[in-house]
């Protein structure tokens, strides 16, 4: 009993100390409504990802609002387009935080955009929750106070797939190349490959890394480099968005090379499947994608609920990995908000989130936060496409 009291006292002191810092401009909860912001691409090459996240979050918010909201407040999402362009992210963030006075950010999309948004959120003391990126810059050690992630990191995804390729598919580590976007997103994925390679005593400096520039689908150089090394390369770990990814797979297959392709979750699996299926069944067939949520057609408790709510609040929208992630992110946030009590403050929500231990939403992995752990899940699922670009689960271990 005493211990608890002391711990509580310590937490209060901590909250007080941090509150005493820059209190000006701090977002406050309204009486009837609680507004969150989202900066995401709703135009350009990554727009499907933005729409997917927005749908997932909005569906979960709508369902919660119909069930009475959070302590009587209705949840609202204001989404702003940044076109996956960091230069526009700054403006969008400022608009949300200072203009619309949102309580926090939820479900932002992208790594280069987060490179701008995270420092801004930190500076403003705004909650930055559940962004759709597995980049390391959102996963500092120790974690930034205001930044919370739901999903496994890119490094965890690529490390898992390298393990799978080497240990299950028996691909020699020296035969694995990397196709990665030339920025922090690609680098984060490459890090995981490098880390996994070290375990197999392979010098990461010797990994063949090819790439493309963000917001383009110019994969010529990458394809040429792979063709030059066609004799060694057996598999390509891809850290890319769906348009350049589809283009790359198409060109390699057209060149007659029989390679294994794996992608990280950010690629947008459903979009990649559709792009490849349009080209013909031999393009999507066997393409792998690592996922940070289970298959949206799963019959698990949470996934059934997700599909039900999707049908109800976003009729016509097909279940997909991205909207499922958005939905899980929103559910997790709602748990934190409910536990923070009626007097909502950012520090209160942070403490409530950090007290979440082993929360089981029914998605296949218990979710845990703590003051030193701001990433709720470390789980990576595998999935593989058939000739129609449809994804089915793939056992990675």
């Amino acid at each position: 009993m005493r211990i608890h009291r002391h711990a509580a006292a310590a937490r209060c002191a901590l909250a007080a100390a941090i509150l005493a810092a820059p209190a000006a401009g701090r977002p406050q909860a309204g009486d009837a409504e609680l507004t969150f912001g989202m900066c995401a691409p709703f135009t350009g090459a990554a727009k499907e990802l933005g729409f997917g996240m927005k749908t997932g979050v909005e569906v979960a918010f709508a369902a919660q609002n119909d069930a009475g909201g959070v302590h009587g407040r209705k949840l609202r999402l204001v989404a702003v387009d940044d076109g996956y362009d960091p230069a526009r992210t700054t403006v969008a963030m400022k608009d949300l935080v200072e203009g619309r006075k949102v309580f926090g950010l939820v479900g932002n999309v992208g790594t280069p955009t987060a490179a701008v948004a995270v420092p801004y959120a930190n500076d403003r003391g705004a909650l930055f929750f559940g962004a759709f990126t597995g980049a390391s810059l959102l996963r500092n050690d120790p974690p930034d106070r205001f930044v919370f992630n739901f999903r496994a990191s890119y490094a965890e995804e690529t490390a898992a797939i390298v393990r799978y390729l080497v240990e299950v598919r028996r691909v020699a580590p020296a035969s694995i190349a990397v196709f990665a976007q030339e920025d922090g997103f690609g680098d984060s994925g490459f890090d995981g490959v490098a880390r996994a390679m070290r375990r197999y005593r392979r010098d990461p400096g010797k990994i063949l890394r090819v790439g493309y520039r963000r917001n383009t689908a110019d994969v010529d150089d990458a394809v040429k480099a792979i063709r030059r090394n066609a004799r060694e390369v057996r598999a390509v770990v891809m850290v890319a968005t769906y348009k350049p990814a589809a283009r790359f797979i198409e060109r390699i297959k057209d060149a007659g090379l029989d390679l294994t392709f794996t992608n990280v979750s950010f690629v947008g699996s459903n979009e990649l499947g559709e792009e490849l299926a349009q080209l013909g069944p031999r393009y999507p067939d066997g393409v792998m994608v690592t996922q940070v949520v289970p298959n949206p057609n799963s019959r698990a408790t949470a996934i059934i609920r997700y599909r039900d709510e999707l049908k109800r609040y976003a009729p016509g929208e097909k279940p997909g990995f991205v909207s499922l992630e958005g939905w899980v992110v929103a559910r997790l946030l709602i748990e934190g908000l409910q536990r923070a009590g009626k007097q909502l403050t950012t520090d209160g929500v942070i403490e409530a989130l950090e007290a979440l231990k082993g929360l089981d939403l029914g998605i296949g992995v218990p979710l845990t936060f703590g003051p030193s752990e701001h990433q709720a899940s470390h789980k990576v699922w595998g999935s593989v496409m058939d000739g129609k670009g449809q994804l089915s689960p793939l056992e990675l271990e």
Binding site: L14, N140, P371
Partner: protein, 621 residues
């Protein structure tokens, strides 16, 4: 002018005899040079009596026992050092005698052959009293007990002559050869030899052979034993039981409204920045806690004493904190060699010894010392992390990694971790290039010369060094045109950065640190709170590794103190600290203690120096 020597030439038994004879008041500091079996320590003699014994984390009998068996390692004798006025004087007298006897028995068992072989013709090599020219009496079982008995039964302060004459003869008769000529007129031993113990080296039994007429190994020891029976007696006095009378009511250091904590740190000398920063970090944390009402209704104050990073000065400082200032616990001490002295004392006084700025193994025993608690990862964990980073991430071939160590237990602890990882990567243990420097100096010339001799074979250096020698080493090797990657273990980040940035931008490249705390610019909850506290309670203090380590340590200590309840005592505090499990303050790792584990964190971070003197966190794995 300090006298220095090596145990190879002068065994500890000889030192005991020398200072007993000469009745000097000295401190003998023991330091390692290159191997793990050579621990740090200090021995204090007051008018010839051994009054304090500290070695490698042990004190008293254990320290004496180990010292008597040291075959290598350097020592330094400082005549003017004021010894700690310990209560163990009387105990130590018996301990020394008993341990000498034990050593004698061991050596007799080992050395029969040597004894048989040694000749009778050797003569003392210096001005030591001439030994009777008689065949050595086989050091019989009778003789030794007689000597001890003489010491034990002899009555307290008797004008010595009579007592000596009644009690000594049996001892001398047995020990015969080694005892100096009796000096009945004084009843005390004859004047000291003109020079420190004699040179050796030609003897068949290297420790002792030449220096006695009979040449018997055991005989020398018996001589020493007899000496002690003689020489110590006159100083014998009834034990003073009243040492703690002052602390009788309540618990030491716990007042009605205040708890006093002590710290012994390096506030002067070459490591003074660390001591200053450690103190600033703790004072900040305590001021912050006091402003919030203290702990269970009591405020906290810190009494800090300087030992100049010199173990000889640590014991007097510890004693002063406990016996004069009456502190409840000792927190945030600086240094490994100094801890070697402070810990046995703290243990004896039931003084919680918390969060010292040392990652050495001697603070991390298995099972852990009851009163010793550490926040930080160990030096060997840091040394290992530095090698893993250099070899696995920077891709430096393991055989091209050298290690710079401070020649003491601090250096050795880091070395052990580094060597283990290098060996795990196929480097033969004997072929690792290990270079060193002496504690409290920045004299790295020898180390650099050794490195230059291998310059073609070294690409990176793991440095287990304090910030000044580390900075000097980086500067000099760069000036010498060596292209190296540096991975320094837990040196003070601000001190190192300032030294190197002042020297020029080119000295800042490829300088990395392992640290047991995250970078102080982090946006993590605990680090933000730390910066806010520093700004408020230590304005002008630049955030850095040492103040952050101190501040985090203090948070854990305060949590333990809270859990210890309204009437804390040292044992309640130990029990309360041991209940801290998976305690997460947002520093990047959870803190756990338990009865079997007194080290809160095992986490090591990597920092890279920036040209502007700032530090950027890097991924070590």
């Amino acid at each position: 002018m300090a006298l220095t020597g090596d145990f190879k030439e002068t065994p500890f038994a000889d030192l005991l005899q020398l200072y007993s004879i000469s009745r000097q008041t000295v401190a003998v500091t023991v330091s390692t040079s290159s191997s793990a079996e050579r621990p740090d320590g200090v021995f204090y003699f007051d008018s010839g009596d051994l009054v304090g014994a500290f070695l490698g984390g042990a004190m008293g009998r254990e320290a004496v026992r180990r010292a008597l068996r040291l075959r290598q390692g350097r020592f330094r004798v400082d005549p003017a050092t004021k010894p700690p006025d310990t209560a163990e004087r009387e105990q130590l007298r018996h301990i020394v005698l008993e341990e000498l006897v034990k050593l004698d028995e061991e050596q007799r068992a080992e050395g029969r052959a040597a004894r048989a072989a040694s000749s009778n013709g050797a003569t003392p090599a210096n001005g030591a009293p001439p030994a009777p020219a008689r065949a050595p009496t086989p050091p019989g079982a009778m003789a030794v007990p007689a000597a001890i008995a003489a010491a034990r039964v002899s009555p307290p302060p008797v004008p010595a002559a009579a007592a000596v004459q009644t009690s000594v003869p049996p001892a001398r008769a047995g020990a015969g050869a080694a005892g100096p000529a009796p000096n009945p007129g004084r009843g005390a031993p004859p004047p000291p030899p003109a020079a420190p113990p004699p040179a050796r080296g030609t003897s068949a039994s290297p420790g002792y052979g030449m220096w006695i007429a009979a040449g018997a190994v055991a005989a020398v020891l018996l001589g020493v034993i007899a000496w002690f029976a003689l020489a110590q007696r006159s100083a014998k006095e009834p034990a003073a039981p009243a040492a703690h009378a002052a602390a009788a009511p309540g618990v030491r250091g716990v007042g009605a409204t205040e708890i006093a904590l002590g710290m012994v740190g390096s506030f002067s000398g070459s490591n003074k920045e660390r001591g200053r920063a450690m103190r600033a970090g703790w004072e900040t944390a305590l001021a912050e806690a006091n402003a919030a009402g203290g702990v269970n209704g009591r405020t906290l104050k810190l009494l800090a004493l300087d030992d100049g990073y010199d173990p000889q000065r640590t014991a007097p400082a510890m004693k002063q904190l406990v016996e004069q200032q009456g502190v409840f616990a000792v927190v945030g001490n600086v240094g490994t060699a100094t801890s070697a002295v402070a810990i046995p004392y703290a243990t004896e006084k039931k003084l919680v010894f918390f969060g010292a700025l040392s990652g050495a193994d001697l603070l991390r025993k298995t099972p852990p010392d009851r009163y010793v608690f550490n926040f930080r990862a160990s030096l060997s964990q840091e040394g290992a992390a530095a090698v893993r980073w250099l070899a696995d991430v920077r891709r430096v071939p393991p055989e091209r990694i050298a290690v710079l160590v401070q020649q003491d237990e601090f250096g050795e602890s880091g070395w052990r971790g580094a060597a283990r990882e290098l060996e795990a990567r196929g480097v033969k243990s004997g072929s690792i290039l290990k270079v060193g420097y002496a504690r409290n100096t920045a004299d790295v010339r020898e180390a650099i010369d050794a490195l230059k001799a291998h310059t073609a074979a070294v690409d990176a250096v793991v440095m287990v060094a304090t910030y000044k020698p580390a900075a000097t080493f980086v500067r000099r090797t760069r000036d010498a045109g060596l292209k190296l990657v540096y991975a320094c273990v837990s040196a003070d980040s601000n001190g190192l950065a300032e030294e190197l940035v002042e020297s020029g931008v080119r000295y800042t490249q490829d300088v990395t640190l392992t640290q047991v705390v995250p970078v102080p610019t982090s946006r993590a909850t605990a680090v933000m709170k730390y910066r806010a506290a520093l700004e408020r309670y230590a304005p002008g203090e630049r955030p850095g590794s040492t103040t952050l380590e101190a501040w985090i340590g203090a948070q854990i200590f305060l949590e333990g103190l809270r859990r210890a309840g309204p009437d804390p005592d040292p044992d309640k505090l130990v029990a309360a600290l041991e209940t801290i499990r998976d305690w997460d303050m947002g520093v990047g790792t959870v803190i756990s203690f338990g009865p079997q584990d007194h080290q809160g964190s095992r986490k090591v971070w990597g920092w890279r120096l920036q040209p502007d003197g700032g530090w950027q966190q890097i991924d070590l794995e």
